[in-house]
Symmetry: C2
Subunit: 129 residues, 2 copies
DNA sequence: GGCCTGTATCGACAACCATCGATGCAATCC
DNA sequence: GGATTGCATCGATGGTTGTCGATACAGGCC
């Protein structure tokens, strides 16, 4: 486990200065889109937040599955997608499998979305909601 | 324009303390998933970064369309999705249509993904990449 | 008015995705 | 060893999505 497909770049380019400062090239856009797509589902968002907000840092699948009105294979599928996006990782311990957050990936997204502290933004229509 | 469907919540709940601190409820997850889904496409990510990183704050569609190997209706479609997600807005000025970033939405995502400064994260497997 | 240009919408189609039941595999317990 | 439990994988299926050409609409120009 934790080693099935080389989908999670795990460490590739910490560089990119953010979405909001310079146009992304195709490679950066493709790589980031994979991660955002993984977050683009309510079930996966809830799974991720359940895992990330866990006190001990890790959660057993047996706690995640009953929290949803979905079949066990469906939850397993969503966890796999989150793992392939590099957002979480897991380990089998005896009968059970535990998942935890990989904070590097969420940190990277937060940086990519962050606006460099007081960017001008001449607000042609204002709109800072 | 700017007023076609009430899809962009524009200002709904600045509250939610973040993905990583407490489990999301279904409503929050559904709402956030819509925005992340809009970011889950390389073309839309590049469009957004082209718009956001623009010096004057706004970009004419006539500059965006030729930057891609895609048809004009396809670009228009992607811009519509970004707008429905509350990430950008637009205005027609004469013959041309101009788009700009709504920084409130990206700010909100950045906050949602940010980890509250020195969260423990006992790292059962380390993995801070 | 009529034409041209820029952009949005429509309808169609192929590709992808979320979901399920069935099944397989791993580890424990008897 | 055999039974049981926890989780992953497989195959199928209906719904969603990215893309296109055709078309409609809006505004400027003659």
């Amino acid at each position: 486990m934790s080693k099935q497909e080389p989908d999670a770049p795990t460490g590739t380019q910490e560089c990119c200065p953010g979405l909001l400062t310079a146009p992304l090239d195709e490679d950066q856009a493709g790589e980031l889109a994979k991660i955002f797509k993984a977050l683009g589902d309510p079930v996966r968002l809830r799974l991720l937040s359940m895992i990330a907000s866990r006190a001990g840092g890790e959660v057993c699948v047996c706690e995640l599955t009953p929290a949803f009105d979905l079949s066990q294979p469906t939850i397993s599928h969503h966890l796999k997608l989150l793992r392939q996006a590099g957002l979480i990782d897991c380990e089998r311990r005896g009968t059970w499998v535990y998942y935890w957050l990989l904070p590097g990936t969420t940190d990277r997204l937060a940086r990519v979305l962050a606006r460099p502290a007081g960017q001008p933004l001449p607000e042609p229509s204002g709109a800072v909601l």
